[in-house]
């Protein structure tokens, strides 16, 4: 590999990317986080930390009914309350009364009816928070309750209450590959099961905030922790009935997002903007923790029927699946815009898992109900289906009396494999290597043994077991809006400003993107400053989702850096009398490749470049190869590259209480190239903890449409004390289309964790949990059921 350079096509433009680590100065190195000092010293301001002076306080009146007609909204008493400045109802919306990341089907203020407990019925702006809260109590709403529907299966039945006028079935996505009937005839062993997954709350630490400031020139600024400022802007403009160019969205530092703030920042941003627009005064809104849990998007619950067939030797012959995906009250990030996109299509595409299966048939139904709504959450539909394929593969292994590792190794993707959608995986695929490396590290073959009999379980108080799961995950959204831009400005002292609309949520993207710019320009990371994403300043970036930031934005930054670097090298060439093609920029120096004693400082070249009128800015725009996907057949190339992962878990189950303790997780990833290995490890460890929560404790409890566990006393997420020993491992099979070979890491780590843990529980005590979470009581009852 040393010294090897590979020609890489970056959207018509040929770029040389050094693939050998030895040649890199900043990429692949441990650097100090861009936001590290401010965060660890507590000096960094989050959305709620900004001065409230001068702002009105905005509040939402929320529906107590899951489904009801609004007969009358009487605001007179509330309006008369001292300190109240405005009470808005549906007729006060000047433009489109709807918002949503994909379809604007959620009313800014409900007019005719409410569709879930938490729906917004009126907005209040007042001089004080107390007055705003008091005003909420004085608004008199008359409802006519309607019968409600709380399950996707029920909602699909004829005669079910209609959540929206066009019916409850929002989207159907299918995969048709080969002939599953034939495939099951060829099978010698068939396993069929139903699995179910709960609503899960993102539980980001920072609740939502928005500050909206109207200006005298008819423009408006909205600030807040936004995961996707451009999506917020796109929603505010039509609601206020003004052009997008008059809306400015400015991001404040996010205290966690995990996909949730892609949606919630639209919800709160649109409402704050509307209040500011109508009152002509700055308005600040902040959702309480309980409001966040009650009213913002969650991970979709799903009920999934799955059937797999295999030959005696383990060769998979067919897979069939039916997904009942509960959308809840509003479309959010559920549905599809052709050629791909939405959580639902992604779930359907991912259900067959990273396996070569000749015959596949999947029917996925995305269905409205009167529950809170499902949206994007770390993994975008994949954690649910990964739990299913990795559970059923283990169940199949048991039926075949095979080691589950061998069954996976026999069938999983490798270079040249064809997916269920007909995509040929022709590069950057080291899934089998992640299995081998994880197995070596974990000592899988030494530790795995067949599941115990019930007598063996009963004999002991605590019993250990091991389990594994593998997974794949896209890099990119896979829709038409995947393009992203970057601007790079070099100044006469050698310092650099980078404009990118990718948001920093704690994942470290601003550090990684600065590394990419620094590497490409030949400066140090501390020379690069990233401005706060501001839609008035930074080019369209798309949302910070889909594990796309490093790869897609990284490419745009490389292009922008190269464009401005040309000026700097030209100036250096004039100073040194060496042709620019021979010059190399590295670590603040520019030198002659053929005679490394001849060089000039980067800043000196920059000074000359400015003085001689050269271009001091570079622009880059990159979009991945255009995706394709047919919703009727599920055939196409929905995503251009995938990350691969193997996780192995060891658990100890208390046979007297059902408590599961996760002892150790080994997780090995093929991520193309780790731009910042420490941050990659951070993503892996955090993701595994999130997956552990999904496996064992996280669940939004609903009763007649009402959330029962609204705050962190009742909604359980794992603590540091619940953390197992985690061994993160990174493999690098370079991605032809990625900056320095990189692909995404943000979401992959939290995906195979839950099935690895649940498979380990089955291996420890011989009971299989098919509905998450596997909290102590559920495991206990399963063991008791087995005892009879």
């Amino acid at each position: 590999m040393k010294g090897e350079k590979r020609k890489v096509i970056l959207k018509e433009k040929k770029v040389e990317i050094p693939l050998a680590k030895e040649e890199l100065e900043v990429v692949g190195k441990q650097v100090i986080r861009k936001d590290g000092y401010e965060k660890v010293t507590g000096r960094l301001k989050f959305g709620a930390d900004f001065d409230k002076a001068g702002f009105l306080h905005g509040k939402v009146l929320r529906s107590p009914h899951a489904h009801a007609l609004i007969k009358k909204v009487d605001v007179e008493k509330a309006k008369a309350l001292p300190g109240v400045v405005a009470i808005l109802t549906a007729e006060d919306v000047p433009g489109r009364n709807g918002f949503g990341a994909i379809i604007p089907d959620q009313p800014v203020i409900c007019g005719e009816k409410v569709r879930f407990i938490g729906d917004g019925v009126a907005l209040v702006a007042a001089e004080s928070e107390e007055a705003a809260i008091e005003a909420l109590k004085l608004i008199d709403v008359e409802y006519e309750p309607l019968s409600a529907v709380f399950s996707p299966v029920e909602a699909m039945k004829p005669g079910a209450p209609k959540v929206h006028e066009n019916g409850n079935l929002l989207t159907t996505v299918r995969i048709r590959k080969g002939d599953t009937e034939k495939g099951f005839q060829e099978a010698e062993v068939i396993v069929e099961q139903t699995y179910s997954l709960p609503f899960v709350e993102h539980a980001y630490m920072e609740p939502d905030v928005a500050m909206a400031i109207p200006h005298e020139d008819g423009t408006i600024t909205v600030k807040g922790p936004m995961q996707a400022p451009f999506t917020v802007r796109r929603n505010i403009a039509p609601v206020l009935h003004i052009p997008i160019s008059k809306v400015q969205c400015v991001q404040t530092h996010l205290g966690g997002g995990f996909g949730g703030k892609e949606d919630s920042s639209i919800d709160i941003g649109v409402r704050a903007a509307l209040l500011a627009w109508k009152t002509k005064r700055p308005v600040r809104m902040e959702y309480e923790r309980e409001e966040v849990t009650l009213s913002t998007a969650k991970r979709h619950p799903m009920i999934i029927q799955c059937k797999v067939g295999a030959k005696r030797d383990g060769t998979l012959t067919a897979l069939e699946g039916t997904i009942y995906n509960e959308q809840g009250a509003y479309a959010s990030l559920g549905p599809i815009i052709p050629p791909a996109g939405g959580t639902h299509a992604h779930a359907v595409i991912m259900l067959p898992g990273p396996y070569v299966i000749p015959h596949v048939k999947v029917d996925g139904y995305l269905v409205y109900t009167n529950h809170p709504y499902g949206g994007a959450m770390r993994g975008f539909g994949a954690p649910q289906v990964n739990f299913v394929h990795e559970s059923i593969i283990d169940e199949l292994a048991e039926a075949l009396q095979m080691n589950p590792y061998d069954l996976r190794m026999k069938n999983c993707f490798e270079l040249g494999s064809v997916t269920a959608t007909g995509q040929v995986l022709d590069q950057s695929i080291a899934l089998k290597e992640t299995m081998r490396s994880a197995a070596d590290q974990f000592e899988w073959f030494k530790r795995w043994r067949p599941p115990p009999s019930k007598e063996e379980v009963e004999k002991v108080e605590k019993r250990r077991g091991v389990g594994m799961a593998i997974g794949w995950y896209r890099t990119s959204i896979g829709t038409f809006s995947d393009g992203c831009g970057a601007n790079v400005y070099v100044h006469e002292d050698g310092s650099v400003i980078l404009h990118t609309g990718i948001t920093e949520m704690g994942q470290g993207s601003h550090t990684v993107l600065a590394q990419i710019a620094a590497e490409e320009l030949g400066v140090r990371i501390e020379d690069v400053r990233i401005v706060v994403p501001d839609t008035d300043i930074v080019p369209e970036a798309g949302p910070t989702v889909g594990s796309r930031s490093t790869t897609l934005m990284g490419n745009a930054i490389i292009m922008a850096s190269q464009a401005v670097k040309a000026s700097i090298l030209e100036a250096a060439s004039e100073i040194l009398g060496v042709p620019a093609e021979r010059l190399v920029a590295r670590n603040r120096l520019i030198f002659d490749r053929d005679d490394q004693t001849r060089g000039v400082e980067f800043k000196e070249a920059a000074r000359r470049a400015l003085a001689t009128g050269k271009r001091m800015m570079g622009q880059g725009w990159w979009a991945p190869p255009r995706p394709s996907f047919d919703v009727e057949t599920g055939q196409g190339y929905p995503y251009f590259v995938y990350t691969y992962n193997t996780q192995m878990a060891e658990v100890e189950v208390d046979t007297k209480t059902g408590h599961v303790e996760v002892i150790k997780v080994v997780a090995c990833f093929d991520i193309g190239r780790a731009i910042n290995p420490i941050l990659v490890e951070g993503q892996i460890e955090g993701g595994i903890m999130m997956g552990l929560g999904y496996a064992m404790m996280e669940e939004v409890l609903l009763k007649e449409g009402k959330v029962q566990n609204l705050n962190f006393q009742d909604y359980m997420i794992p603590t540091a004390m619940d953390a197992p020993e985690i061994v993160p491992m990174i493999l690098e099979d370079p991605n032809r289309y990625g900056p320095f070979g990189a692909k995404g890491i943000g979401e992959m780590p939290n995906i195979p964790t839950a099935p690895a843990i649940i498979n380990a529980v089955a291996n420890a005590v011989g009971v299989r949990i098919r509905d998450l979470p596997a909290h102590s009581e559920k495991v206990f009852h399963a063991m008791r059921g087995r005892r009879g």
């Binding site: 007297k656 209480t657 409890l701 029962q708 566990n709 603590t719 009581e777």
Partner: protein, 238 residues
């Protein structure tokens, strides 16, 4: 409402010979750091270790845990087992009573209006050579107990129980004790069979409820099962 936080007399741990004084405003963290508690009441230490999280232990006090009178109060089973007594004061008068008499139900105590909890006294009881405390919760920290169980045992050299005290938390309006099981275990070796039988009685004694954290059925089953933790290993309590 009056804040008691800065009254120094209400804080600290003192060895007073026969008994130990604990100021009700002593934080859990300070109790965890106390060598007196460690030496005399290791079972209380076990409960303190799994109470809340470091920030909560830094702020929360043992007096608060008692007066809150939650069925899930983490220090309550050990305080019952240790036969803790409390002192209440109002103006010039004071009274002293056992914690069992003081706590009447969830959030209900004999604390009269204007009365202040001013002391907790625990008699030293060195005869117990074995203790056990366990909390079953949804996670390892910051968890409200689903069931908790504590035991103090005095056993002979060959593992025969001479005295047993048992207490369960979170399975009834107040901490549950069972004189019946305690009497039954006296003179027995703690085999699985004996404890299974004791577990049956425990399941009948507890009065759990269904709530967001667990079902009554699970709590009842586990309350019985936790007795098995006392089983003899190599002829001795483990």
């Amino acid at each position: 409402m009056i804040c008691l936080e800065r009254i120094e007399e209400l804080k600290g741990v003192e060895d007073r010979g026969e008994e130990i004084f604990i100021g009700p405003c002593t934080t859990f963290t300070r109790l965890l750091e106390s060598p007196v508690i460690m030496n005399h009441f290791p079972i209380l230490m076990e409960a303190l270790k799994v109470l809340g999280s470091p920030p909560i232990r830094n702020m929360g006090t043992i007096g608060g845990n008692i007066v809150t009178a939650s069925p899930a109060g983490d220090t309550l089973p050990p305080l019952y087992l240790l036969r803790a007594e409390i002192e209440l004061r109002i103006k010039e008068s004071s009274r002293r009573m056992s914690i069992m008499d003081f706590i009447k139900g969830p959030g209900e105590t004999l604390l009269a209006p204007g009365e202040v909890l001013t002391a907790i006294f625990i008699r030293k009881s060195p005869r117990f050579n074995f203790h056990h405390y366990e909390k079953v919760g949804a996670r390892k920290a910051l968890a409200i107990a689903i069931v908790s169980f504590g035991a103090l045992l005095k056993t002979s050299d060959d593992g025969v129980v001479e005295e047993a005290r048992l207490a369960w938390g979170s399975v009834a309006p107040t901490v549950v004790a069972s004189p019946e099981i305690e009497a039954m275990l006296k003179g027995c070796r703690l085999s699985n069979q004996v404890l299974e039988k004791a577990g049956q009685i425990a399941r009948a004694v507890v009065k759990p409820i269904d709530d967001i954290r667990a079902s009554a059925d699970y709590r009842r089953e586990v309350a019985g099962n936790l007795l098995l933790r006392l089983a003899l290993k190599n002829g001795k309590p483990s």
